[in-house]
């Protein structure tokens, strides 16, 4: 069933919010400053609002609705206790300007999370401030540039492999860098390639490990060595850290700086696209450049350290997405060291299981051992069907589609990341659907091309949306 827009439900005189009586004299600003009205603003009662959003929600698909193998996004289960944790009085109602003496609980939690992330990643310093992965990336690359500048280096380029996330080049550009693409070989970056590209104009290599093909960058230690020898730094995109928890630590590999995606690896909910949190870990050399503030402690207690003269500055308001940090802290405490290692193991087991089951039905462009995700292509798909058709057909089978057409190095990529949350039975059901669709593609391709059929809406015309943008409701 359809659901009108808020504005279309509106009826003059309705309101879903009552104020208490005003207990002071009523006052009014100078008339010239007062706005008349907010034209078009909706007028609804509480039941209208409750029903509207309840209905909207029923058109969404979340992790609690079913399997969500969106590659590179680590759509693991979001434990419900984390939602309770961040809403506790003392957290949810804590004003960021509360005197620090009265915020010791919050500061202690942030400090502990910094320490935990150091231990998990092998880095020496952490900032919790960035609001998302890309924001952490920006903070990280600003630190790279600040470090280079502090040494007096004039380096204007960064190396980015073809298996990188799209944010990497955009971030490099925001730091004033030029991007030099790095071709991968058999899905990974080789020492030879880096040796060939690494000159004294290069400030850094930005790498993802495991990379977006789900492969471990086997030569990472030597790659880092070469970059360092030639005066560069290595930035790691930490989006895929889930595969390495308790197994190997980026800080130990020679990586200098890495962002975490708490909403991926540490199970804070994705929220339909945000909020996430993108803390950054750095080696000791980069620590002076961390954004302000950093949480630290003395014998008297925890405090926000603003006195960091080499800091790149502030990335946003206040101190980080505290509500997200609480959830991540809670998750780490729930799992413990063993649980985190088990997480990596089961995530990798699940990906390899899906790979083993689907290898015979789908083309596998890279054969190295997969870690947490596996990338197929649509090359063997019959009936002229493409990855997009497969994705839409999966919806009819009750699954969220994998990431599609990424990474770009695989044409028609189908990028499946099951995460450790999923049981073998769920994977089996998914693989059976994938196999069925492969058969359907050959036998009855219309089933794929007309999919989805079981959703409220069919395929949407994205071209039209972009050509004649309607970005707001108009009466």
């Amino acid at each position: 069933l359809n659901e009108k827009l808020l504005f279309e439900h509106s009826r003059p005189g309705r309101c879903g919010y009552d104020l208490p009586p005003l207990d002071v004299p009523s006052a009014e600003p100078p008339e010239a400053l007062v706005r008349d009205d907010i034209p078009g603003f909706p007028e609804l009662s509480e039941i209208d609002v409750a029903r509207h959003f309840t209905r909207l929600s029923s058109w969404n698909y979340g992790v609690d609705s079913g399997f969500y193998p969106l590659g590179s996004c680590t759509m693991k289960y979001n434990p419900k206790v984390n939602e309770v944790a961040c809403r506790l009085p003392g957290f949810a109602d804590l004003h960021p300007h509360t005197p620090q003496k009265l915020a010791q609980g919050a500061l202690a939690l942030m400090y502990e999370l910094q320490e935990d992330l150091k231990e998990i990643s092998g880095f020496d310093g952490i900032t919790l401030q960035p609001g998302a992965g890309a924001h952490g990336e920006l903070a990280g690359m600003l630190m790279v540039r600040a470090w280079q500048q502090a040494r007096g280096a004039q380096r204007n380029k960064v190396l980015i492999p073809d298996t990188a996330h799209g944010t990497n080049p955009a971030t490099a550009a925001l730091c004033g860098y030029e991007v030099v693409p790095v071709p991968s070989e058999n899905g990974v970056v080789t020492v030879e390639t880096i040796e060939g590209l690494m000159d004294d104009g290069v400030a850094a290599l930005m790498i993802t490990n495991p990379n977006t093909l789900g492969l471990f960058e086997t030569y990472i230690a030597d790659v880092c060595r070469v970059v360092h020898e030639r005066g560069g730094l290595v930035y790691c995109d930490g989006a895929n850290l889930n595969a390495l928890l308790g197994i190997a630590r980026p800080g130990d590999m020679g990586i200098d700086v890495m962002h975490f995606n708490l909403h991926k690896t540490f199970s804070t909910p994705h929220g339909g696209g945000g909020p996430g949190a993108g803390p950054v870990g750095v080696s000791a050399e980069l620590e002076p450049f961390l954004p302000v503030p950093v949480v630290d402690r003395t014998a008297e207690g925890y405090f926000l350290d603003w006195d960091r003269p080499h800091s790149i500055g502030r990335m946003k308001g206040f101190y980080g997405h505290f509500g997200v940090l609480v959830r991540a802290w809670t998750y780490i405490r729930a799992m413990g060291a063993e649980g985190l290692r088990r997480t990596a193991e089961m995530a990798v087991l699940n990906a390899n299981y899906v790979r083993a089951r689907l290898e015979s039905s789908y083309h596998l462009p890279y054969v190295a051992r997969s870690l947490h995700e596996v990338v197929f292509s649509d090359r063997n798909l019959g009936g002229g069907c493409k990855t997009l058709d497969l994705a839409k057909r999966l919806i009819d089978y009750g699954f969220h589609p994998p990431t599609i057409y990424f990474p770009l190095v695989v044409s028609g990529a189908i990028m499946i990341e099951p995460t450790e949350s999923e049981s073998q039975e769920t994977l089996d059901e998914f693989c059976e659907a994938m196999e069925a669709i492969a058969r359907e593609a050959s036998e009855d391709p219309g089933l794929l091309k007309d999919a989805p059929r079981l959703t409220r809406l069919g395929r949407l015309d994205e071209t039209r949306a972009a050509r004649r943008p309607r970005l707001r409701w108009q009466p």
């Binding site: 935990d116 799209g166 509500g323």
Partner: protein, 449 residues
């Protein structure tokens, strides 16, 4: 291991299907020299009951809600959040979903963002708004970059009365982009100095950035900035640190703003020690292809039914890569949803009414505080729900004394304005009842503070 379903039998069966013997061998591509074989040094896994008890203990170490009469603002505002907001946010279809890349099973998120974009346009008086950004400060930084992009200029005039977090964030974002920052001083009334602005503006200016309200709570005279800036084809960027003010004061759009950004926390988001909050970003329709961030647009499906999709992605990093309008690849989805629900509840009547409550309470507090011996209001430009107080001695000491009487009397200005050592910022919202205000005033008068 309540979050991981596998038992040992499952593991063996799955390893067998994969064709390996041990979990270990799945990691064979990780060189042994890089392995971290020791267990991580972290506290042991904890049962949910223990964990919640520990969290409650930590949370109780904070002196939050209820305990204190608080008059804290300065970029984050304590407003009441109706229960229905959290009820709806807690629907897992919303909060456990990802970015709506598959529109057919994401219409809930998409329609809600479309509604959010519309509400922000209506509220700011602008033509187009994006799907939200990290917060007010980072939106403001993005606005500065956008102004430079569209004007192809690199000099930016920044009001000294802009929220210091916003100022610092702008400078961080622009650190290596060869920008020129120019300070716009404020006058004795707490508002920007128009004469200074006239002097500073020239044909190289990309933008003038002012707060509305500014850090001192002052509603700047946007019409004047607008006129002056536009004379030099510079863009007026307005940063709204308390958006509830837009329920009562003229919208930046009607006063000539080119880009309006701000902090949306006031609209249904908990204070949460500073985040996650909600950056909003609105601009003129003609600038739509230069907007940073995500956009949702209306379209139709194969049957011609209305639906919504992410659109104009060619601006974004995953398509344009280093030429993107920003490196951002998310929005504050759930926070934007909270604001959408909150604004839908208040609506056309409730929002102005709530804004008037805030205004009236702040007026009352201002008048009463100004009447206390030794205290005065140094600035006289119009304010919304926040204002600067000048005390008879160092603000830190005053606030410390108030704290001993369970009053958090405001935010001292000296960390940012060393010459304002006796001044502090007081915020009054609908959460402060008259009794709170009277107790505050009494504490000031009694000389205890």
């Amino acid at each position: 291991m309540r979050y991981i379903p596998h038992n040992e039998e499952d593991v063996l069966r799955m390893l067998d299907a994969i064709g390996v013997d041990t979990l270990e061998s799945l990691f064979e591509e990780v060189p042994s020299s890089l392995r971290h074989d020791a267990p991580l040094n972290l506290p042991a896994a904890r049962a949910e009951s223990d964990l919640l008890a520990e969290l409650a203990r930590i949370a109780r170490c904070n002196g939050a809600g209820g305990t204190y009469r608080a008059f804290l603002g300065a970029g984050a505002y304590d407003h009441f959040i109706p229960a229905v907001v959290d009820h709806l946010l807690s629907r897992s279809e919303f909060y456990t979903a990802y970015t709506p890349y598959q529109p057919e099973i994401s219409q809930g998120t998409l329609q809600a963002i479309f509604e959010f974009q519309t509400l922000i346009c209506q509220l700011t008086g602008m033509g187009v708004a994006n799907a939200s950004m990290y917060d007010g400060a980072s939106s403001c930084a993005e606005a500065v970059l956008m102004a430079c992009r569209v004007t192809r200029r690199r000099k930016v005039i920044l009001s000294r009365a802009l929220h210091p977090d916003y100022l610092e964030t702008i400078r961080t974002y622009g650190r290596y982009l060869d920008m020129e920052w120019v300070d716009l001083p404020f006058g004795e009334d707490g508002a920007f100095d128009p004469d200074a602005l006239s002097r500073l503006l020239d044909e190289e200016c990309a933008a003038v950035v002012v707060g509305y309200p500014n850090f001192f709570g002052v509603m700047e005279d946007l019409a004047t900035v607008s006129r002056l800036a536009h004379e030099h084809d510079a863009r007026l960027v307005v940063a709204v640190q308390e958006p509830l003010s837009l329920g009562l004061f003229k919208s930046p759009g009607e006063l000539g703003a080119d880009i309006v950004v701000g902090e949306g926390q006031s609209f249904g988001l908990p204070l949460s020690y500073g985040g996650p909050y909600l950056g909003f970003f609105a601009a003129r329709e003609s600038d739509v292809r230069n907007l940073p961030g995500r956009l949702v647009g209306e379209t139709v499906d194969t049957e011609g039914r209305r639906g919504f999709v992410l659109t104009l992605a060619t601006r974004e990093q995953h398509i344009r890569r280093e030429k993107a309008t920003s490196n951002i690849c998310s929005n504050q989805g759930l926070c934007a949803l909270a604001a959408t629900i909150y604004l839908a509840l208040l609506g056309r009547q409730g929002l102005p009414e709530l804004a008037r409550h805030n205004y009236s309470k702040a007026c009352y507090a201002r008048e009463r505080i100004a009447a206390v011996d030794g205290y005065s209001l140094p600035f006289n430009a119009p304010v919304f729900n926040e204002f600067v107080v000048e005390g008879p001695r160092a603000a830190e000491g005053i606030l410390q004394k108030l704290q001993e009487r369970d009053i958090l009397g405001g935010v001292a200005l000296s960390p940012w304005f060393p010459d304002m050592s006796n001044r502090f910022l007081v915020c009054v919202t609908e959460r402060n009842c008259r009794e709170d205000i009277d107790a505050f005033v009494e504490a000031l008068s009694g000389g205890e503070a």
